[in-house]
Point group: C3
Chain length 271, copies 3
């Protein structure tokens, strides 16, 4: 990261810790606990709420709305639309995680319908999920990617332009693009792929950064640097994926703004 | 804690470990795993069940019923009433955690209706939640408190008298009152506020103590001392909120009855 | 384990790590995160999906289907039947975890109906749950067993023959039988009973082994040896159930095929 964007990333992390923005998550059952803890470690205030009767009120209190389709059901899809509409009315940024798009029609179609009916600030997925949104065809085995970021990188800028929504693809390297500007994030560790919900955590943390930074490409780039850098630190003491997941929460908590500015490895892709 | 109540607290913890009471939780998705593990570490036997078709049977087997409104939906509200009615018929103590009361009408009204229609042995919340129940007006940002325990302490005794239900407010200091007797618990550690569901864990553990101690003020005081003392121990080895949450489960498991009697810091507030 | 079956167990673990089979879980909220992490640590690819609209598509992608009744509701029961029917059509092995059977009629009857209407490859439960299925009468206090494996061992072979479904009973010793061949697994550690969802983890891991080994008695025997051996290793560094649960994920990840072959303690029961 160059010096200016390093300082802006650090300022964003400091802003999260100062303002403690509420991040409203309508997310999947598997990761709720871990992403709530990651948001707390980052300095944000997480809330999970999905009842149609309350999601609009909750979103109105929030600095960002995270929609994650990892364990869908009809009532939750309705709640995502209700919350998203209110977020759009109020200018609350919305981030979508299309977990498992491409694996089932329900997931692919739900993700597409959310993208069509709502103004989404950013989509964060793995390579297979992003390719499923781009091609309209399945290709994911489940929720783990079977494609490389390089493959998805070929379609991501076009997808971002078509959707008018920036796209972040996470994997061994992360790629963030709005179709005009494209960044790569080199931070991270292989153990991140052996902990469930690490992608969902990337999405939730990006929500926290979106609550303090209006540019979604910048917010995602910084959030992914922050998470990846914490992963690098966590790996230093980990004996496997269990202790890694625990140490990652510690690292998110202990990583301060100057360390983020110094450790983030971001490069702009010049087309 | 004076010597007599220290011995009674220790006896209660020993009773939980001897009897392994079933604690039936109708609780939120975020904390289910952690509170189940905390109850196991304490010595109780946790069960989570929410289907209308089975909650009354499950409650009939239980030593305490924990109602937690952290991720509500209509079916779960119905289940809470069904289980609570059976608990009342059978004399099974009911404890209510009004997570996020004040943040949305659904939460505030659900908490109040449960308190109106059921005989609840104790309400355990953070300062903002308790103030929302007392004032009938919102004031919570999400599920994290934006008020101090001192503020809530001003309204808690009156609320307890109005509801005829003892109230426990957790925070940097915990306050437990039935409107006549009031206790403060000084155990705890700041990292407890950086782990999701720590308040829910306080509620669940109070459920375990209620299963062996009929006086809800005593049960809550001891449970909060026990949890806070475990938090102090966990902090000794923690590097951040991730390792703290893990070490807290270890500490709950390893804390024995004499150590609870010796380490609890409880004072009675004389009005 | 004799040398031949030790080698076959090791080959199965290596096959999981090579093929990364998708394991589709329709399971309870309490354990979703932990069992997903255990499956990842083992080398499989977990997915949780329960919507009626997608479970058949997801099962069609899977190497095994895990049905776990730990937090039932009507929609989830329907999803289990839909997914199970598709699994049966496609020859995807189905494993059932009758969590809390015997505690409520809903659980006992749901487990029995799944066993009646589906071809289930294996049932994995604790002693009380298996006895409830055998006797048709309740006897569980909640989800923790109140019976010994020895008691359940008396009814398990007959139950397996009646159901034409092999049965695995886990506890201080594990017993696996199809009514003709019966094995005991001696691996494990007492702390395994102090972590929530350890039985559910046994079931999920057995699902992973079933995805690569068609004989359910062998698959369950190896999965339970693998989990028990990881438990023994985890206990070496654990300070209580919190650190044990974390270390167990590390151990599942680090245990390699030769170590499984060398460390598994399996004996055949000659009738």
């Amino acid at each position: 990261m160059n010096e200016i964007s390093g300082k802006r990333a650090a300022a964003a992390l400091a802003a999260i810790r100062g303002k403690k923005p509420l991040v409203h998550n309508i997310t999947n059952y598997v990761v709720m606990n871990y992403t709530a803890n990651a948001l707390l470690a980052c300095g944000a205030s997480p809330v999970m709420a999905h009842a149609a009767a309350e999601v609009q009120e909750m979103t109105a209190l929030a600095g960002a709305l995270v929609l994650n389709i990892g364990t869908l059901s009809p009532a939750w899809i309705e709640a995502m639309h209700l919350a998203g509409e209110r977020a759009n009315q109020l200018g609350v940024p919305v981030i979508l995680d299309p977990v498992g798009a491409g694996a089932t029609r329900l997931r692919t179609e739900t993700a597409k319908e959310l993208l069509t009916r709502l103004k989404v600030s950013l989509v964060r997925g793995n390579a297979s999920e992003i390719m499923a949104l781009a091609s309209g065809e399945g290709g994911t085995k489940g929720v783990d990617s079977i494609h490389g970021v390089e493959e998805a990188a070929l379609v991501a800028p076009g997808l971002a332009r078509d959707l008018q929504t920036p796209v972040a693809i996470t994997g061994p390297q992360d790629l963030i693009t709005d179709g005009k500007r494209t960044f790569m994030v080199g931070n991270g560790h292989p153990l991140m792929s052996r902990v469930t919900g690490m992608g969902c955590t990337a999405t939730a943390l990006t929500g926290a950064f979106l609550a303090v930074e209006p540019d979604p490409v910048d917010a995602a780039t910084w959030a992914l640097s922050y998470l990846g850098l914490a992963g690098e630190r966590a790996a230093l003491s980990a004996n496997g994926p269990g202790s890694f997941a625990v140490a990652l929460l510690d690292a998110l908590y202990n990583l301060d703004a100057p360390a983020l500015a110094a450790g983030a490895r971001v490069s702009q892709v010049l087309s």
